[in-house]
Amino acid sequence: MSRSKAYLSSILSLTAVVLTVSALTFVLDSLAHFDRADIQMMEIKEQYPTIRSNDYEARYRSLRSASGSDLPDFFISLNFKCIPDSLRLIPVKEERSALQNLLLKSYSLSDIYTLRTKSFQLESFAESLPDSLINVSTRLKIFSRTLRIADNKSSLDSLAQQADTLSQEYPALTNRLADIKALLRVSVSERLQNFLPVIRWHSDNRFKFWLLHTLSGDFGTSTLTGEKVSRRIWNALPYSLLASIPGFLLAFLLSIPAGIYLRNRYWSLILWIIATTPLFVLAHLFILYFTSSDYLDWFSPRAGLKGDLPVTVYLKGYFLPVICYFLAFFPTLTLYMQASANREYTKPYVQTAKAKGLPGTYIKLKHILANAVFPHITLLGLTLPTLVSGSVLIEQIFDIPGIGKLLYESYRSSDMPVISAIVWISSLFTVLGFRLSNFLYDYIMPVRK
C-alpha cells in the first residue's frame, strides 16, 4: 500500500462525506419550506394593494425563476402521469394544488389552462371597469379568483350557478361568461389510470444549484435581515475567534506540563470536579458572582465590543469567556497528555535512563515530554470546529456577537438559511480537522504507519 494511494482514498472518502453532509443540510433547508420569492411577493402586495392580477402573476413568476424555487427538488422525481412538469411554473401555491387536484380528477389539461386564461381576462376586464360600476367589478374579481382555486366538482358547480346569476343580473356579461360556463359544466369521471406513477429526470434542479452555490461560498440571503448569509457569518467570525483561540491556546500550553507534573490524586480530583461541572453552570456562576454589583464588580458582563477602546475594557470583557473556554478544554487535554505520558513511562528507554542515574527532571523533560507531546499535537485538528463555530452557550451567556450567538438568534427567528449554513460550515471544519489530525500524526510519526 503506497502512501499516495492512501492519500487518494482519503481524499475520495472526504469528498463523499462532504457531499452527503451537503445533502443532509439541503434536506434540513428544504424541510423548512423557506421561499424568498413568497416573502418578497407579500411585501410587494403590502406596498401596492391595487396591483393588477396580470402584473402580480408575471412578477411572481420572474421572482420564482430568479430564486430557482420553480425548479424540482432533486435529479429524480416521482409523480403521477396526468400531472405535467410545467405545473411547477404556476407561482401561487393554492392555485397549484387546486390544478393538481382537478387534473387527478380527469379534467383535461387544455380545458384547465383555458379556464385559467379566461379567469385572468375576466379579472383584467373587471379592473378596467369605471368607478361607477364598482359593485359589478368587485363581484367579478372575487368570481375570477375563486375560479382559479376551485379544486373539486361541487365548487365548480357552485361557480357555474354564480355565473348564471351574474349573467341574469347583468345581461351585458352573458357573452363573456358563456364559454366559462361551458367549461365549468364538463362532466368527468374519476379514473384510476390518472394515478399511474412516472419517474422523471431533471438535469436542472434545486439541489444541483444549491450545491454549486454552497461550494462557491454563497449561502443565499437571510430571512431576517435580507443580508447575504456569508456576510453575516464573516462579520461574526472575529468575535468567536477572539474568545476561543486564546482560551484554547492557554489550555493547550498549560496541559502539557500539567499532564507530566501534576500527577497526584488531589490534582486529578480537581480536574475531575472541573470536568464534571457543566460548562454553562460555571459560566453562569461567573456572570453571577464576578460581574454584578451585588457581589464582585470586577469584569464586564458584555464581551462584544467594537471600536477604538482602551485595552483594559477589552480585557474586562473577554477575560471570563477566555477562562470558560480554558476550563472547557483543559481537563480533557490534560487527561490525554497524562495518558500519553503514562504510556511513555512504561517504555524500556525510560527504565534505562533511570538505571543510568539520570535526574528525574531531566528524564521528564528530555525523554518523556519530547515523545509524549507528539500525539498531543494531533488534538489541534480535532478542536478546529469548536474554535471556529464557538460555543453557543458561552457566546450567549457572555453576549459575544459571534457565530454561536448568530445561530441562537437565527433559531429564535427561524432563519433557516443561516442555520443550515452554520451547520454546513461546522461539519466541513469537523471533517477537515479530522483529516488534518490524521495528516499531522502521519507527518510527525512516520514510523507508526
Binding site: 387536484n101 384510476l192 464534571t276 456562576l285 453571577l288 450567549q396 443550515s420 451547520v423 461546522s426
Partner: protein, 330 residues
C-alpha cells in the same frame, strides 16, 4: 476515600432516586401551596421559594424527574438505534457479503412502492386511500420477507456489499455534523416535545455508541469460543444473541450510562438557552434558566446547580466503576 466511594455513591443515588419516586417522604415543607413572597432558605421552605412563591425544593424534585426522564429515554433510543449497526459492523468487519440480485431488486421496488403510496395518500382523494394503504403494507411486507428471498434465490448472481464500510461511512457523516448546533437546528425545525427531542438527541448521539460497540464486538469476534460456536455450525443469530452480546454487556452498560449523562447535560444546556422542551416538562436546566433574572436570590440558582452536578457526579462514578470492571474483570 476509594474504599468508601461505593457507599457514598449508593447513599447519594438512593437519596436522589427516592426524592424522585417518593417525594412525599422528603418534603419537609409545611406549606406547599404557593405563597406570596420570595423567601430565604432557612424557614418554612427548606430551599427557599422562587419568584412566584413556589417551593424551590418541590420544583427541584419535579425538574429532577424531567431530567432523568430525558436521560433514560435518550439512552434507550440510542441503544435501540445503535445496537444492530454496531454488532453487524463489528462482526462483518473486513468481510464482504454477497447479496442476491433479487434481494437488491426487492429492496429498490419496495422503497419505490413506499414513496409512491405516501404520495398517493398525500393527494387526499378518497378513491385512492385504500389502494395506497394496501401498497404501503405490501412494501413493508416485502422488506420484512427480504431474508427469505435471499435464501430462496441462492448464490448464483449477486452484489458484493461491505456492511462495515457502509456503517462506518454513515457514522462518519453523522459525527461530522456538529452535535449541539444540529440539535438547535432540529429544534428550530420541529419544535419538539419530550419524546421527539429524545429521539433527535439519540440520532445525534448514536454514532459514538455504534463506534464503541463495533470495536468491542471486533475484539470478541476473534475469541476461541466464538470460533468454536461457528465450527459447531450454530446460526449467526444464535452466535450474536448467546455468545457475543453477553460478553459485551459491561461495555454496553457503560455506554448506556454515558448516554444518560450526556443527554441530561445537553438537555439542561438546551433548556438553559430556552431552546429545548415545551412548557409542560420541568427540568433542572429550566430551573437554572428561570433563576437568571433574580441574581440576588442565590438559593434559586445554587440548589438546582448542586443537584445537577451531583447527578452528573453519580453517573460518572458509575461509569468509572464499570470501566474498572471491564478492564479488570477479576
Amino acid at each position: 476515600m476509594k474504599k468508601y466511594r461505593t457507599y457514598i455513591l449508593c447513599i447519594m443515588s438512593g437519596l436522589l432516586v427516592s426524592m424522585w419516586l417518593y417525594p412525599d417522604i422528603w418534603i419537609l415543607d409545611r406549606y406547599l401551596a404557593p405563597g406570596k413572597d420570595i423567601l430565604m432558605p432557612p424557614g418554612n421552605f427548606i430551599f427557599g421559594t422562587d419568584e412566584l412563591g413556589r417551593s424551590v425544593y418541590a420544583r427541584i424534585i419535579n425538574g429532577l424527574g424531567g431530567s432523568l426522564k430525558v436521560g433514560i429515554l435518550t439512552a434507550l433510543f440510542t441503544f435501540v438505534i445503535g445496537i444492530i449497526p454496531g454488532i453487524t459492523g463489528g462482526y462483518y468487519s473486513g468481510k464482504t457479503l454477497r447479496i442476491g440480485i433479487v434481494s437488491v431488486l426487492v429492496v429498490i421496488k419496495s422503497l419505490f412502492l413506499f414513496v409512491y403510496s405516501i404520495q398517493l395518500l398525500n393527494t387526499g382523494i378518497h378513491m385512492v386511500q385504500t389502494p395506497a394503504i394496501l401498497l404501503m403494507f405490501l412494501s413493508l411486507l416485502l422488506l420484512i420477507l427480504l431474508p427469505l428471498t435471499g435464501k430462496l434465490t441462492g448464490k448464483t448472481a449477486g452484489v458484493q456489499v461491505n456492511p462495515d464500510g457502509m456503517i462506518s461511512f454513515f457514522t462518519a457523516v453523522l459525527s461530522a455534523l456538529p452535535k449541539f448546533v444540529l440539535i438547535i437546528a432540529l429544534a428550530a425545525l420541529f419544535k419538539p416535545g419530550l419524546i421527539l427531542l429524545c429521539f433527535l438527541m439519540a440520532i445525534i448521539l448514536a454514532p459514538g455508541f455504534i463506534r464503541i460497540v463495533r470495536s468491542e464486538i471486533l475484539s470478541i469476534r476473534n475469541t476461541p469460543y466464538v470460533e468454536a460456536a461457528k465450527s459447531l455450525g450454530y446460526s449467526t443469530f444464535r452466535i450474536f444473541v448467546f455468545h457475543i452480546v453477553p460478553q459485551a454487556t459491561p461495555v454496553l452498560i457503560v455506554q448506556i450510562i454515558l448516554q444518560v449523562q450526556v443527554a441530561i447535560l445537553s438537555e439542561s444546556a438546551l433548556s438553559f438557552l430556552g431552546v429545548g422542551l415545551p412548557y409542560e416538562t420541568l427540568t433542572l436546566g429550566k430551573l437554572i434558566n428561570s433563576a437568571r433574572e433574580y441574581p440576588s436570590c442565590t438559593w434559586m440558582t445554587f440548589f438546582p446547580v448542586i443537584t445537577l452536578c451531583s447527578v452528573i457526579l453519580i453517573l460518572r462514578n458509575f461509569i468509572e466503576k464499570f470501566s474498572d470492571k471491564t478492564s479488570n474483570p477479576l
